[in-house]
Every structure is written in structure tokens, then in C-alpha cells.
């Protein structure tokens, strides 16, 4: 049976051995990778494995007690949810507790330190005009230790008004050239304060105390500025406490030499809510490394254009503005012209992670409140261990029934079906295990159930294929041509229907957030694997087995016995012999 018609069917069927080898190599490689990486089990969600629970309490700030209300708390929950669960696959949960607490639950095995930083960072961003700035404290030396607000401090370590540090409009990048601003020292001649100060312009370093004394309403702030010592972490942490966006404020930041610089800043001109979206990009042109580009909303773009236009008229350092993130000056570019392009960028010596974290926070918005960590504790699985156990037993019994059904119905063919299901299961498991460390993927109970339903969809592909083959055999074909002819039709059905599933997965993944997104991910993954397994495993295996005598001769246990299938005699149809009925062209 294998011999005749060799030329045609061999070319039509490609090289089944090669596909099989390919997928087996892929399985071995992935499994090897899994064992090498040491993550041999998928990460489980809170409901199955428990995890860490962080309780955060909203800090009431003087004069803003009413800020802790339901709306702000809900906004904070949403933002935190997106920060810890940006891809939707990490199964982190965020909810309010009581009036002023937020609980963040993170599944076991997550980097809880990183998560704590992510949820705790306020990410309040302001663009403030610089009124005065100078290097603070003699001991300013490079000590890039973190300040209070953890992740913001990272961003602050490399900033300064160097030449890479300009705000550049998207369309006109040649806005500025380096000037002396990098080492500019404070002189507080400010419109905002309406107070002329005598520029004492000390051109170099540690001129800490009071060289700029402005008179007038804000003399108190001036005095504080004079006394500010940014080298002390405790001072830095509180430098801008109580500052409202509409007031002048003090802030600290680190310059490119690693020195702490103190700032006296005007009222916020633009704030983080004016940022439409932010992105971490690698600056290949100037080789300046990672930076964060921001697109403003239309309102933000106008405000930004106004302030830069105003600043461009002024003398250093008042032609600078400071980008203040959670009270730290991240960057203090100077302005040479009004920037109306609606974009700005923050550069500095970010590494990739820092740039991405910052852009995430800017995109997802600032927390409307600041929070302090109240407690961190472990929690056990929300579903008791016995539930998982019961589920696994039940699932195993169900699977055994599936196998029995397939064997009874498809006999020999069921070997192919079961082998394909196994391959599919192994691939799913290994990929899920690998995705745990890679993108924080965690498996929860609904996802496990979804995977069980995926058995049906995967098996359907084989069933469609098998039924096509059997129909061809019923037409009186021998097995090899039957397989060759059945495949293109089965393939179309499989692709069309899997495309619908994949479309659902893709749309939901792009549009939604949280657990729905996680579900979409799992659905997309299983659908893709279904196609891969059918194309690279089931079909080649079927082609190869069709050459075996057991199947090709239609052994009664092969599931392809022409007699049992009610096949017509080999000589195509002959109305006299067969019942005058009509094979369905299924």
C-alpha cells in the first residue's frame, strides 16, 4: 500500500519526519530550558498557592485630610493594580480595606520587594520652574543612596542639567546646546516671588548656606532653602513635605557628578496628569542611553509650551525647569526656546529597568495619595489545598474518560490523538513554567479550568482531521491518499476556527486589564499551541503511520477499517452495488 503512487503523495505530504523532529527538538529544548532555569512548576496564583499581603495606609498630609476619600482611594487601587499587574498575567490583587487602607496581594514567588516599590511609589510628577539651585553640603560626594521614596530615588541618581538633559520637542531636536547650566549656581531672581535677590553667583561647589536671600512673602521658604542640606537622607525625604503644587517648594536632586543639589522651585507649571503617555526608549543617536519620552495631552502641551516660552527669556538658572518626581528633582533641563511639540523627554543615566519603571508610572498616572506600608505578611491559598486536590483528582478522572472514549471510538487512531494531547500538554506546561519568571505569569484556578476546556478545542482539531480521513476512506481510497486529501480540508477548518479564538484572545489582551487580560493570554497561548501541535505533530505522525501496515491495511483495531467504516468498494462509486445513497461530503 505504501508503494504505489509514491511520487505524488510524497511530494504532497512534505517531509513528515522533519516536522516531527522539529517539534521534538523544540520540546526537548524547552524542557531543558525549564530545568536549567530551575522553574519546573508554573507559578500559582494567590487562590492556589497563597502569597504575600501588603497593607498600605494612606498618609494624611497637612491641609489635605479630605483628600482621603473614596474616589481617590479607588483611583489609587486602579493605578496600583496596573502597576503590579501591567500585563494582567501576574494574578496580583489590589483592594481597599476600610477607609484608608489598601491591600495588595501578590502570589508566592513574585519579587515582593520590587512589588512593594511599585505600589508604594506615588509618582507625582511636576514640572516646576527653577528659581534657585546650588550644590548642597560639602559632603556632597557621590553617594547615590536611595532616598525615602524608593524607586524615584533611582531615577534621581544620574540626572542633571547636562547637555543630554534638555527638553526637546519632537520636531525640533536642536533646541539647545550645552551651556553653563550644568554647574549653575543659584540666584533667585524670581517673578514668582516678586522679590529681587542679589545674585551672588558663586560659580563653584559647596556654597551651602544662604547666599541667596530673597525678601518678601516667601522669605520663610528662602530661609528654609538656605538651611536645606540635601546630603542628609532624612532632610531629602522631607524637603518638599507639605508643598502644594501651586506653591513654591524646595527639592533635592543629584547632578551628573553625583553631588546633591538643592533647588528652590516655583509653582508647578505642568503636572503628571498632563502626560498622555510615556515610553522608555533607547537613544541611539546621541548614545545617551535610556531615556523616557512623554507625550502631553493637548492641555498639557499648551501649558508646557507656555512655560518653556517664558523660561527661554530668562537667565540661568531661571531658564531651567525641574522635573520633580515624588519630591526629587529627576532632571533640570534648561530651555532655549518655547517647546510646543507636545512632547518632552527625561534623560539621565537610567538603565533599562529604571526607564521602563518610570515610564510605566508616568503612563499609569500618579497616585492621588501617598501611602505608607503598614504591614507585610504571608497569606495562605484562598482556596484550600483540598480544593486543588479535589480538582486535580476530578480532572484526572475526566481525562481518563476522554482517553477511554477516544480508544473505544477511534481505536488505533486514538494513539495519535492521545500522543498529540500529551505533546500539547507538555508544551503548555513547560511554556507556562517558563513564563513565570519571564513575565510574571501566574496560574489561577480559572486558568486551570480554561486549560481543561482547551483539551476539547485541541482534541477537536484531531477529530475534524480524523473524520475527514474516514470520509475519504469511505470513498474507497486507500489510507495514504486519503490522508493526503483529507488534510487540506481539515487544515482550513482548523485555521478558520482557531483564528476566531485567537482574535478573541488578541482583542481582549490588548483592550482589557487585570484578570480578563490574564485569561486572554492563556486562551491565545493554548490556541497557538493547538495549531502548532496539529501542524507539526498530528499531521506528520498521521502521514508516517499511514504507511504502517497496521493502519494502511485497515486492521480492525486501527480505527480505519474500511469495512467497519462502511466504505465503498475501491472502484469509486457504482450505483448498482452500493446503496444509492450519498456520502456526505463532510
Amino acid at each position: 500500500m505504501a508503494a504505489p503512487k509514491k511520487g505524488r503523495s510524497a511530494s504532497a505530504q512534505g517531509k513528515p519526519g522533519r516536522s516531527l523532529a522539529l517539534i521534538l527538538i523544540a520540546i526537548v529544548a524547552l524542557t531543558g530550558g525549564m530545568f536549567l532555569s530551575g522553574h519546573t512548576t508554573p507559578r500559582l496564583g494567590i487562590d492556589l498557592a497563597g502569597g504575600t499581603s501588603i497593607t498600605l495606609k494612606a498618609k494624611s498630609e497637612p491641609g489635605q485630610e479630605s483628600a482621603i476619600n473614596k474616589t481617590n482611594m479607588d483611583t489609587a487601587v486602579e493605578i496600583m493594580e496596573r502597576r503590579v499587574n501591567g500585563l494582567g498575567v501576574s494574578e496580583a490583587e489590589v483592594q481597599t480595606q476600610g477607609d484608608r487602607n489598601i491591600i495588595v496581594n501578590i502570589p508566592k514567588g513574585t519579587n515582593s520587594k520590587q512589588a512593594r516599590e511599585q505600589v508604594g511609589t506615588t509618582a507625582k510628577l511636576y514640572f516646576r520652574p527653577v528659581l534657585a539651585t546650588e550644590v548642597s553640603g560639602a559632603a556632597a560626594s557621590a553617594s547615590p543612596e536611595p532616598s525615602a521614596s524608593s524607586s524615584a530615588s533611582k531615577e534621581s541618581d544620574g540626572e542633571e542639567a547636562t547637555d543630554k538633559d534638555e527638553a526637546t520637542p519632537s520636531d525640533e531636536s536642536a533646541s539647545g546646546t550645552p551651556s553653563a547650566s550644568a554647574t549653575s549656581q543659584g540666584r533667585a531672581v524670581t517673578d514668582a516671588l516678586a522679590a529681587d535677590s542679589t545674585p551672588s553667583a558663586s560659580a563653584s561647589a559647596p556654597a551651602s548656606a544662604g547666599d541667596d536671600a530673597a525678601t518678601g512673602a516667601d522669605s520663610k521658604l528662602q530661609a528654609q532653602y538656605a538651611a536645606l542640606d540635601c546630603t542628609k537622607p532624612s532632610v531629602r525625604a522631607t524637603a518638599d513635605d507639605g508643598a502644594k503644587p501651586g506653591d513654591s517648594s524646595l527639592a533635592c536632586g543629584q547632578n551628573s557628578q553625583g553631588q546633591w543639589q538643592k533647588y528652590l522651585l516655583g509653582p508647578a507649571a505642568v503636572d503628571g496628569t498632563d502626560v498622555d503617555k510615556a515610553q522608555a526608549v533607547y537613544d541611539t543617536q546621541s548614545g545617551a542611553g535610556w531615556k523616557v519620552t512623554m507625550d502631553f495631552t493637548s492641555g498639557g502641551a499648551k501649558k508646557f509650551g507656555d512655560i518653556t516660552g517664558e523660561l527661554a527669556q530668562k537667565q540661568s538658572p531661571q531658564n531651567q525647569f525641574a522635573i520633580v518626581l515624588d519630591g526629587d528633582v529627576v532632571s533640570d533641563p534648561y530651555v532655549r526656546q518655547a517647546l510646543t511639540g507636545g512632547t518632552a523627554e527625561i534623560s539621565g543615566s537610567f538603565d533599562q529597568t529604571e526607564a521602563q519603571e518610570l515610564s510605566n508610572m508616568l503612563s499609569y498616572g500618579a497616585l492621588p495619595l501617598s501611602f505608607e506600608e503598614q504591614s507585610v505578611t504571608t497569606v495562605t491559598a484562598a482556596l484550600g489545598g483540598e480544593q486543588l486536590h479535589a480538582g486535580l483528582i476530578a480532572g484526572a478522572i475526566g481525562l481518563a474518560l476522554v482517553v477511554i472514549y477516544l480508544v473505544v471510538y477511534y481505536r488505533g487512531l486514538s494513539l495519535i490523538a492521545i500522543a498529540s494531547l500529551l505533546v500539547s500538554a507538555v508544551l503548555t506546561y513547560v511554556i507556562m513554567a517558563l513564563l513565570g519568571p519571564a513575565i510574571g505569569f501566574a496560574l489561577n484556578l480559572p486558568a486551570v479550568c480554561g486549560a481543561i476546556v482547551a483539551i476539547g478545542i485541541t482534541a477537536d482539531s484531531f477529530i475534524v482531521f480524523f473524520e475527514r480521513i474516514r470520509d475519504e476512506v469511505r470513498e474507497g481510497r486507500t489510507l495514504r491518499p486519503a490522508v493526503a486529501r483529507a488534510w487540506p480540508r481539515a487544515r482550513r477548518t482548523i485555521l478558520v476556527s482557531d483564528f476566531v479564538s485567537f482574535l478573541a484572545a488578541a482583542v481582549l489582551f490588548i483592550v482589557t486589564v487585570g484578570k480578563v487580560q490574564g485569561f486572554a493570554f492563556t486562551l491565545g497561548l493554548t490556541t497557538l499551541l493547538d495549531v502548532v501541535v496539529v501542524f507539526f505533530f498530528t499531521k506528520p505522525l498521521m502521514t508516517i503511520l499511514a504507511r504502517r501496515k497496521f493502519f494502511a491495511s485497515g486492521h480492525s483495531w486501527s480505527g480505519l477499517d474500511p469495512k467497519r467504516l462502511g466504505a465503498k468498494p475501491p472502484l469509486r462509486r457504482s450505483r448498482r452495488v452500493s446503496a444509492p445513497v450519498d456520502p456526505k461530503e463532510a
Binding site: N105, G384, G456, D460, V496, L503, A504, A520, V581
Partner: protein, 374 residues
């Protein structure tokens, strides 16, 4: 081969078959009945939203000797709602109960302190907000909306708009029934339920598309012959994919049935019940609607098309003519190929029999058709 296997062969040969399209009114009626029941159930009983959606109360206890499972029982007894119990690192318990207000929370606290044998002063009660916030829900709706539009466009291009409409009707049918049953049974709606519903949405469409694919293939070049109406061919198409539909449904339902009846029923795993029930009902509804609702609906819509109406007229005229010649129209049409593809290109395809009026046995052994080929 099993009986089902014989059935497969007989279905294939057209010896048996069910007139899905002809009897569609019965199934439409049944579906409308079930759907109305579901909607009434939904309207009357409403959905019992879980703590993840509506928030509730959380009780934090000091270290206690009571096990998590026991505490869960106590909490459910005291509140009448589902409870989520977790053990904290301190050895205490965190008990979350949905649908509880402040007054009720004090009651539960007292009950808990008795059951758990801890001082009620030491139990910390607080209200918690939903972890599945409005934003997640809104985005999910938005995503669904976009998906529906895209899938209708896709089906309209890959198949045709009538099939897109029918697939959508079948989808809504499945989801309504599943949600309705949820309301009737009174299970709490958890994120797992929603995920289950989305899974069904995917499966229902998938299954419908597989059936439509066969329908599309068989109705190709339909107007070139005058032996079969669209409905006849649609019916044949369903019957020919019936074995596949049954097998797929069995394979998909068995593991879920295992979860529902063994895991949930016998072993008593609470949350598994929630998910597997929605999956079980939804999968069954999805398989049912592809065959009994979606395809007949396409046939209904198609028969209104002028070309198909003409075809039907021609077919009926031809059958009438055949009948007047003393041949039963069914037999006359029994084994004629309706498509003109050469025999070596397609499996020897012969036309579908008219299942409506032609019991399988009668056709046996009847010879060649007389006259009138096409």
C-alpha cells in the same frame, strides 16, 4: 466499532439523519423557552455577586487553633454567604465575606468569636472594597464589544453576513442561558465565573465556525443545480458533521463533568463548582446552538435571498414533475450529484437525500434514478 461508529458510517451514507432544518421551529421554540426562563431567572433572582465585585467585610483574627476549612464553614454559617479564608503569617486568619454591611458585620464578629474561641475584641473587622474594580469590568465590556464587531466583520468576509448574524445569535443564546442558570442556581459570581463565561464565548464561536465551514463548503456552487434547496444542503451538512460535533462535545464535556460532578459534587470543592457549572452549561449550550440554532437560522436567512428562492422554485417544480411521472421525487433525487466537479477531484459526491420525507430504509436497494438529471 461502537454503535456511534456505525452511526457515523450510516450518517455518512445518509441512511440515517435528522431533519434539523425542517424541524427548526421546534428547536427555536425550545431555545426561546429556555432563554426566556433564563432571563426571567436573571430578572427575578438577580446575580449573586461575589466579594471580588462588590466588596464585603474582612475579619482578621489573632492566632487560633481552628483550621482554615473549619473557619470557612463557621463563617459561611454565620453570614450565609461564601467566605474566603486565608491563614496569615502570624498564625491568625483573614476571613472575607461578601455582601456584608456594618451592622451585619458585628453580628458575624460575635458569632465568629464564639466559634473560633477568640475574644471578640481581638477580631478586627473592616469593610473591603472590590478587587475586581469597575475599571476592569468596563474594560472587559469594551473589549467584548470590539471583539464582537471584529468577529462579525471577519465572519462576514470569510463566510457571509448571514452566517455572522447567526453565529452572533447563537453566541448570545449560549451566554444568556449560562448566565440565567447561574442566577437560578444562585451560585456566587466570582472572577472565575466571568473567566468561565469568556471561555464559553470563545468555544461557542469556535464550534459554530467549524459547523459553518462545512456548510460553506457544501453550498458552494449550489445555484448551478436544481435538485436541492439550500435548506436540504444545510441539513446534509449538519448531519455530516454530526459525528465530529458529538465527539468534540463529549471530549470537551467529560473533563468538565469530572470537575463538576466528582470534584464539586462528591469531593465538595466549593469554588470548583462555580467555574465548572458555568463551563458545563455553556459548552453544552454552545454545541447545541451550533447545530440546532445557528445553521437553521442561516438556512432561514438564505432562503430569503432571490437566488435561493429561485432555486427552491426550480427544485420544487422539478420534484413535482418527477412525481407526476410516477416517480417519487425523493427517489428521483436520491443519488444525483448536484455539483459538477469531476469525479476524480472530489470524492464521489452525490446529492443529499431529502431527510424530511425519506426514511432511510425506504431508499435501500432502490435503483437508479429515473430520468431528469438536472
Amino acid at each position: 466499532m461502537s454503535k456511534l461508529g456505525d452511526l457515523g458510517a450510516r450518517l455518512y451514507r445518509g441512511e440515517v439523519g435528522y431533519d434539523f432544518v425542517g424541524k427548526r421551529k421546534i428547536w427555536y421554540g425550545l431555545s426561546i423557552l429556555i432563554t426566556i426562563t433564563a432571563i426571567v431567572g436573571l430578572a427575578v433572582r438577580g446575580l449573586n455577586m461575589g466579594i471580588e465585585f462588590q466588596g464585603g467585610a474582612v475579619f482578621t483574627t489573632p492566632k487560633t487553633s481552628v483550621s482554615v476549612a473549619q473557619a470557612e464553614e463557621y463563617a459561611e454559617e454565620a453570614s450565609g454567604h461564601d467566605a474566603i479564608v486565608q491563614e496569615l503569617g502570624t498564625g491568625g486568619l483573614r476571613i472575607q465575606i461578601s455582601g456584608v454591611d456594618t451592622a451585619k458585620s458585628d453580628e458575624i464578629k460575635d458569632a465568629l468569636s464564639k466559634d473560633l474561641k477568640v475574644d471578640s475584641e481581638k477580631i478586627n473587622a473592616d469593610l473591603v472594597g472590590p478587587s475586581w474594580g469597575e475599571q476592569i469590568a468596563n474594560k472587559a465590556w469594551q473589549g467584548l464589544g470590539i471583539f464582537m464587531v471584529l468577529v462579525v466583520i471577519y465572519l462576514a468576509i470569510a463566510f457571509e453576513w448571514r452566517m455572522a448574524v447567526a453565529a452572533l445569535v447563537a453566541l448570545i443564546h449560549d451566554i444568556t442561558i449560562t448566565v440565567g442558570i447561574y442566577a437560578l442556581v444562585g451560585f456566587e459570581v466570582t472572577p472565575g465565573t466571568v473567566i468561565g463565561l469568556l471561555t464559553i464565548l470563545g468555544y461557542s464561536l469556535y464550534d459554530t465556525v467549524v459547523v459553518f465551514d462545512s456548510l460553506k463548503e457544501q453550498t458552494k456552487d449550489l445555484t448551478k443545480q436544481s435538485r436541492w434547496t439550500y435548506s436540504d444542503v444545510a441539513n446534509r451538512s449538519i448531519n455530516s458533521t454530526l459525528v465530529r460535533s458529538i465527539n468534540t462535545t463529549v471530549v470537551a464535556l467529560l473533563p468538565v463533568a469530572g470537575l463538576l460532578f466528582i470534584g464539586g459534587g462528591v469531593l465538595g470543592a466549593g469554588m470548583l463548582n462555580d467555574i465548572s457549572l458555568s463551563l458545563f452549561v455553556g459548552l453544552a449550550a454552545g454545541a447545541y446552538s451550533s447545530i440546532f440554532i445557528a445553521t437553521p437560522l442561516v438556512a432561514d436567512l438564505k432562503e430569503r435571498e432571490p437566488a435561493m428562492r429561485n432555486l427552491k422554485r426550480r427544485v420544487l417544480a422539478k420534484r413535482a414533475a418527477a412525481a407526476s411521472q410516477g416517480e417519487s421525487p425523493e427517489t428521483a433525487s436520491a443519488d444525483e450529484p448536484y455539483d459538477q466537479e469531476p469525479e476524480d477531484a472530489t470524492p464521489a459526491v452525490v446529492g443529499p437525500r431529502d431527510q424530511r420525507s425519506q426514511p432511510a430504509a425506504r431508499n435501500r436497494g432502490r435503483g437508479r434514478p429515473s430520468g431528469k438529471r438536472r
